[in-house]
Amino acid sequence: MRVPPGVTPRDFSDAIKQWGEAVGKEWVFTSDEDVDLYRDSYSPFWHEDEEPIPSAAVAPDGLEQVQAVVKIANAYKIPLWTISTGKNLGYGGSAPLLGGSVVLDLKRMDRILEVNEKNHYALVEPGVSYFDLYRYIQERGLKVWIDPADPGWGSLIGNAVDRGGGRTPMRDHFDAHCGMEIVLPNGEVMRTGMGALPGSKTWQQYRYGFGPYVDGMFSQSSLGVVTKMGFWLFPEPEAYLTGTIAVPRHDDLIPLVANLAYLMNSSIVLGTTSVGSPLNFVRDPALAALRAKPGGASTQELEQYAQEKNLGYWSIELPFYGPAKVVAAQWEYAKEKFSAIAGAKFQEGATRRFPLDPKEPVQFPGSVAMGVPNLSVFGVGAARSEGHVWFSPIIPMTGEAVLEAQQVFTEAYREMGLAMGPLFFLGPSSNYPRCFLVLFGFPIEHDIEKNRKNRENFKRLIQVAAEHGWGEYRTHTAFMETVMNAYSYNNHALRRFHETVKDAVDPNGILSPGKCGIWPKHLRKAQA
């Protein structure tokens, strides 16, 4: 049997016995065969001793059981690593950051406690996936939309507290939450916002409650175990319309993004869109040859190629949600704005009406933007993929920033000996308001040397980004320390504050040690 760090085998045996009494022996996993199911399927440490493997897993079902498990862990000072559905692949999956931690698996807590059609909200437990809530809503014919993360098996709570994003107007998942129930490291239960008022009628409607607003401290956090969370839902819209704008010249990116920012910040466009180039999708030997020239293709050559092929140099697809008349008017207004860019072309997509025709496939590519969860994102690179991790910096929502990021990361990739074209990344995307998220996929392979090299490159990119004022919004457990190190303003004042809070709230350091580079006191020196 594996044993957590700093815990005697005897104490661990006692704790396991007590957990069994609290949750049922069958829900305490200690055999290698069962515990191995908690390893990160996309671990960048495959076949290496550094891979953090849990010592056990315990799966409570209900608030009282979570409290009991946490109290026992606290009594024996056993590190717990909390997961919800455990499918956070690319960011650590169900595996802990600190090897030997016991995984606190909340998947069995999968109750949908309320879906309110009048005020458009839901209250759920951590084991509820996007698929689960979508199915629940469809079976009852409720006129509300969820906003799924790209992988539909993700947890609403898990994704929101990891500050994940989606694609509809409710796409900033933590921002869409309203009210939390949290088990603290001493086993005490706390409710935030209006939930702190016994008998409150507005827990899922007014998020702030009274006094300091603490919800954010339980996101990307190791201060508590979230056992319930409310989410605002989007009223099922009448229609969904997309319109694509293509512009002919490289420098048109500047006004293209400026107009996009205006429309988004004015709440005329509310959804995820990405700036891309139609040239990325061209499979033409002539274009490949142009790019393969020493020094690559010049901007003028690419502009000329795009013009000859009647393609845009850049394009964006705008999503509109709402009454059919309103979305049509919004698109008309957008066209007016973008017409100021000489040569801009417009293409209107099909208008979708809701509810969807029952003859439509249940899940289809692009359905996530219409509130229908699927797993199609795993098709990215699926032909040879053994997994991936994401490098994901946030950059300003300006054309200048996109061009700078392109130049900086192209250069960084070249220095690292990695292949990348001149128009390289997925995105930049508006998953969050007022900024762009840029995603770079790094493959995971069952090859120690390649993974080591990839880890080095990943850390180098974190550094390069930080040197240019860009930071990651979220990262795989393997890189949390490095990313937090980059958030170093005033001698790491933010991390020192987090450590002060951690020591006060979780003095035994039992919850998710090392998460986001925040270590409990007794492990801090060893990690420094």
């Binding site: 760090p5 010592s55 799966a59 455990g86 249940v362 289809f364 590519p365 699927n374 699926a382 993929s385």
Partner: protein, 124 residues
């Protein structure tokens, strides 16, 4: 520390085994005949857990991946050569970008039911 977490060779070797199984396509048909209720249970579990990746229609990465590797048919529900041990190995150990599934997600009993469903058309 390394000793504390002496890594079981279980999973990594199992993944290697899975890849071998994958490359050899699928083993001999099973001869067990599960009852209809078990098959129906399996169908429900399959729809919940497997269909989003292995179902029919566009945007099903598992189906697309099997098709890209020349597996015919690529849709698992249409296969008649899967065996319960092979199905269970894939679910518990994953393969390529397919992750492992824990017992809190798919219980052993549910996994038996999936196996019953996916082997329902096997010929004796």
């Amino acid at each position: 520390m390394a000793k504390t977490f002496e890594k079981g060779t279980g999973m990594k070797n199992a993944r290697a085994v899975v890849l071998v199984l994958f490359s050899l396509a699928f083993a001999a048909p099973t001869f067990a005949a599960p009852d209809d209720a078990q098959i129906e249970r399996g169908h429900k579990v399959y729809d919940k857990w497997c269909f989003p990746c292995h179902g029919t229609g566009a945007g099903k990465p598992g189906t697309d991946s099997l098709r890209a590797r020349g597996q015919k048919p690529a849709v698992l529900e249409e296969r008649t050569d899967l065996t319960a041990p092979v199905i269970k190995t894939f679910v518990r150990h994953g393969v390529l970008f397919m992750p492992t599934f824990r017992k809190t997600e798919i219980s052993d009993a549910e996994l038996d039911a999936i196996a019953a469903y996916l082997t329902r058309n096997n010929k004796p």
